[in-house]
């Protein structure tokens, strides 16, 4: 048997049947045809892997959740607006939406306000929750620079491994909401939100902790270094 005949024979082998006779003898002598046989069997075997169909209910639910809970793109979204003002009249509020995937929003949101420079503690009841930052501004600004830094093994869902995110956005007068889907890998962590525009800048540190840790008086995480350090 030559190589052409061997490859035709391989094409006619039934699934799971070992080669015999002249084909087996040829494969024993020809490395290239042995590789061809192995490739053909591998494709057939992998092709036999059955894949379950997704539940239609799951697909509907997943689509709905995606558009209701995801944070719009920080780069180009028009919804993500941080207000900016050169005046020092910033008011920053951080809110943890407790048990956010089970409770109606109006019952679940706990809002605490503090004048900047702010140090805010937010208690989370779950490993993954939303932390809402509301910044009020007295006027509009076309191009504010906004950055978020994460410490204490925190991350934003969808931005795995990124400890710093920065972007430029337009700002409107009044209250502007930033929803951060926070994943907390430890008991505690810290988010620093900083905005900069014109000659002014501002920042707030939001410390997050699991519910049981939030009431402790000891520092929650290793604090960030000073801004210009």
């Amino acid at each position: 048997m030559n190589c052409i005949e061997a490859r035709q024979a391989i094409g006619h082998l039934d699934s799971g049947v070992r080669p015999e006779g002249p084909l087996a003898k040829h494969l024993g002598q020809c490395e290239l045809c042995r590789q061809h046989y192995g490739d053909a069997m591998l494709l057939e075997t992998l092709g036999s892997l059955k894949v379950p169909e997704p539940s239609p209910q799951f697909l509907e639910r997943a689509l709905q959740r995606a558009s209701e809970e995801a944070v719009p793109s920080p780069v180009r979204s028009t919804k993500w607006r941080i207000p900016a003002s050169l005046a020092a009249s910033f008011l920053i509020a951080a809110a943890a939406m407790l048990i956010w995937d089970q409770m109606p929003e109006e019952q679940a949101v706990e809002i605490v306000e503090q004048r900047a420079p702010a140090e805010q503690v937010v208690a989370l009841e779950a490993h993954r929750q939303e932390v809402r930052i509301v910044i009020h501004s007295s006027d509009e600004h076309a191009a504010a620079e906004v950055s978020i830094e994460l410490a204490g093994n925190l991350e934003l869902e969808g931005y795995a491994g990124q400890q710093r995110l920065a972007w430029t956005t337009s700002l409107k007068q009044g209250a502007n909401l930033l929803v951060l889907p926070v994943v907390l890998h430890n008991e505690r962590g810290e988010i620093r939100v900083r905005s900069q525009f014109g000659q002014g800048s501002h920042e707030v540190n939001v410390q997050v902790a699991r519910k049981s840790q939030a009431g402790r008086t000891a520092p929650l995480v290793e604090p960030f270094a000073p801004i210009n350090a």
Binding site: P19, G28, R34, G38, L59, E157
Partner: protein, 186 residues
């Protein structure tokens, strides 16, 4: 019409046709229904956030596959760091196979078929996430290596050498050699 509603409708219209295919890919990458659902949900979150970046593409599927692949690698590494490699995946293999829509075979044939399915899933799980993505996209889903190179953002030469190693490992694991090595060498 409300802008949010329009955005949501446009997102669903762009995404819905690809959901089943993406779920199948997610299943092949993760090896279980539960993990595939988690991965698909994460994918949809991310696709919605990035909607402005891909909504005008003529064919958004490669974009979606790339995001799926990157999320898969991220989640795999995170899980490996925190819980060990895919412990949940292997636990749920049998359940996933039970869920597959196919005619009811005899118990003996079913048991043998399930064994074969488990062997394939375990062989795929034994690969790293990058290798599994390559095998899934190229050997199972039939994308050319050039297409896979674009989706995974990996040079073609790297893919070829990676594919060679993957095939060798899978053949060993799945025992696809024509006869045992000692017979061949005799």
């Amino acid at each position: 019409m409300d802008a949010d509603f329009e955005l949501k409708t446009a997102f669903e219209r762009s995404t819905r046709p690809h959901l089943t295919t993406l779920y199948h890919s997610a299943y092949r990458l993760t090896g279980s229904s539960a993990d595939a659902e988690d991965l698909l949900q994460e994918l949809l979150f991310k696709l919605f956030r990035q909607f402005d970046q891909w909504r005008d593409l003529d064919n958004p599927k490669p974009w979606m596959q790339r995001v799926l692949y990157n999320l898969h690698v991220d989640l795999y590494r995170k899980r490996r760091r925190t819980h060990g490699v895919n412990e949940r995946t292997l636990d749920s293999d049998a359940q996933a196979i039970d869920e597959m829509a196919n005619p009811e075979p005899s118990p003996a044939v079913k048991a043998e078929g399930d064994q074969q399915q488990l062997r394939i899933l375990e062989a795929l799980q034994a690969l790293g996430p990058e290798q599994r993505a390559l095998v899934t996209l190229h050997l199972i889903e039939g994308h050319t290596l050039e297409e896979v190179s674009a989706i995974l953002d990996v040079p073609l030469g790297t893919l070829k050498s990676r594919l060679h190693r993957c095939k060798a490992q899978l053949k060993r694991t799945l025992q696809l050699e024509p006869f045992p090595e000692n017979v061949r060498l005799a």
